[in-house]
Point group: C2
Chain length 361, copies 2
């Protein structure tokens, strides 16, 4: 239980602070940084999104604050119990654990999951710990393969001995211990089908790398795992997505962090990540125009939005990407490479791109 | 390559049949069972959905058939190449492999993935093999844990030594070899968060079972894996979902097959599967009414649809379920059990239900 002592003592501190307010007959209150777009800034030095200095106080004796104050204390108590019992709960579990009536009333502590999610994010800020460290898990998703050995939950696991499936990435990777990491870089891809292609071709073995995929959105578990490998083993990370605004945004979130999790950038953003493809150059070079898919209105407005982000605004390479895609009026899928042959991606496209360092930063 | 000889020779046979038509100056044609709701029947004996006897002929020299005829031959050729090269492709890959112009014209063989998907399903019927056996993979999704050892792609993999993540289930499980299976039953759950709960509590070890989860829809890979364990090891399978029409439908698809894959029921349906919960009885017994979520219009129409399915029509237990939910006007989530304590599901709910054989068939 020792490893969780730090988190537990911070939660206890929070409780004692409130208790002290009560004893001193002060209005109990908690100070929390403001989590709103108005307080999200792009730190040009660390190259990540982060929260500014705006703070707000939450008082118990304040009609507008009382319920949120109670929710904050309640979620701290739920987290402390989880840490005590050495159990993890999902966001949805925590919602149900908090969803009960306030004694002596018919009012629920929380009615919607958005309320419990919200105070969980506050608790991250109050303690400086991620919700995973507070034993509250995000979604589970994704597979990984590579010449890596880890220890997790008492088992020694070799990521290079897991056949066609790979290791299923848990929602919470905080307690994983890396025993040996034998890789030159990490390839993260948006699509599980591409991961299966590269795993079947044993790309990770031939090119000494780690292959990670999600299916759709990049979960916090995957982002944190990428970050840990990047920081602890200085492994370059290359991101492989479709040629579309959604793919570009996946890269943006992994690299810079996301607006609604700006407070967690320190634990999630990875400024060194590079975009491998599909890029506009690839479209020309690998003759993919015949597989173009026409942009829809929402694609175009998403591209405009991306171009306006402060972290892309002064980036000439990316501005060129956004502009070229709009000129093409088209997007393309990574699987379009399969029209060149089923192993074209693993035998030609990827080795060539990586050898030539043909990345976008 | 030997194991794939059967599939390859069937594809060759198809090609030779067409060639013979040409040589004999006959109009080349293929006979395919009709895949439409009008030809889907519920076999009361095998208790699965299957195709009826209606067949249609597809001719080369027929303006309405020519393109589809060509697509059918083309997909057979793509599959034969994959089998030759011992490579697997996703549905999307196959689409791009087929998407090229017909020589001497500006017409594409396929323009939309629905066209290639469609002839892939035809090819399943023509050969009697599943698309996985033809080296065309579905989606990858899901995790598994339990006291089982398998061999896959040259690796020996122990499902009980994979920490908090488990084995990531591949899209294609045809070539997995089971070396030892030490389990009394299988618990399949809709939600990965519930899987993580039960894995953390080492439920599979204490109760000698296998835990499988998807995240959302049950992929063909998962259904086929369930079926193989059910048939090869006679393991009972219990399905655990939310208390809602969508959860009931997940159960229905695993047990009886789905309408659009009726031709594949033999390889996918598992008539012996039982529904463990959440059931209407559970709602009463475990005091879950306070966590009710009001039914929406689409929930109600889905319930009506389920009640009309021929495989549910004469089933009194299920008709009672549908009726009770409509009377409640409410659904509930499995995580509502967490309001009774984080390990309530693994320490009380599941052991009690399984001991009392409190299932719906």
């Amino acid at each position: 239980m020792a490893k969780k002592n730090k988190q537990e003592s911070k939660l206890k501190e929070l409780g004692l602070k409130v208790l002290k307010d009560v004893e001193k007959i002060r209005n109990p209150n908690i100070t929390i940084p403001v989590r709103a777009l108005s307080n999200v800034i792009f730190n040009k030095k660390s190259k990540t999104l982060e929260l500014g200095n705006k703070k707000s106080k939450r008082f118990f004796f304040n009609v507008a604050h009382a319920k949120k104050f109670l929710q904050t204390i309640e979620v701290a108590s739920v987290s402390k119990n989880l840490l005590n019992e050495e159990k993890h709960a999902s966001l949805r579990d925590v919602f149900y654990m908090m969803k009960r009536t306030i004694p002596g009333t018919s009012v629920n502590i929380v009615d919607e999951q958005s309320e419990s999610d919200n105070v969980i994010e506050d608790l991250e800020l109050l303690t400086g710990d991620s919700r995973e460290q507070l034993n509250i898990n995000a979604n589970k998703n994704g597979s990984i393969v590579g010449k890596v050995t880890i220890e997790d939950a008492g088992d020694t696991i070799r990521w290079d001995k897991l056949g066609s499936g790979g290791w299923s990435i848990p929602s919470n990777v905080e307690d994983i211990k890396f025993k040996s990491v034998n890789a030159k870089y990490i390839l993260y891809m948006e699509k599980a089908a591409v991961w299966e292609r590269l795993n079947e071709d044993r790309f990770w073995e031939k090119h000494k790398c780690i292959l990670i995929s999600s299916q759709g959105q990049t979960t916090r578990g995957i982002r944190r795992l990428l970050q840990r490998l990047y920081e602890e083993y200085k492994l370059p990370i290359y991101v492989l997505t479709d040629y579309d605004a959604y793919g570009f945004y996946i890269y943006s979130v992994i690299k810079y962090g996301s607006i609604n999790l700006a407070h967690a950038s320190e634990r999630l953003a990875i400024p060194g990540v590079k975009f491998l493809g599909i890029s506009s150059n690839d479209i020309e070079k690998y003759d993919l125009k015949k597989h173009f898919i026409k942009l829809k209105d929402h694609d175009i407005s998403r591209l405009k939005q991306l171009a306006e982000y402060s972290w892309f605004k002064d980036n000439k390479q990316w501005q060129k990407e956004f502009k070229t895609m709009r000129q093409y009026g088209s997007k393309a899928e990574i699987q379009a490479l399969s029209s060149r042959g089923i192993t074209f991606i693993s035998e030609k496209y990827l080795p060539e791109k990586i050898k030539n360092k043909d990345f976008i930063d």
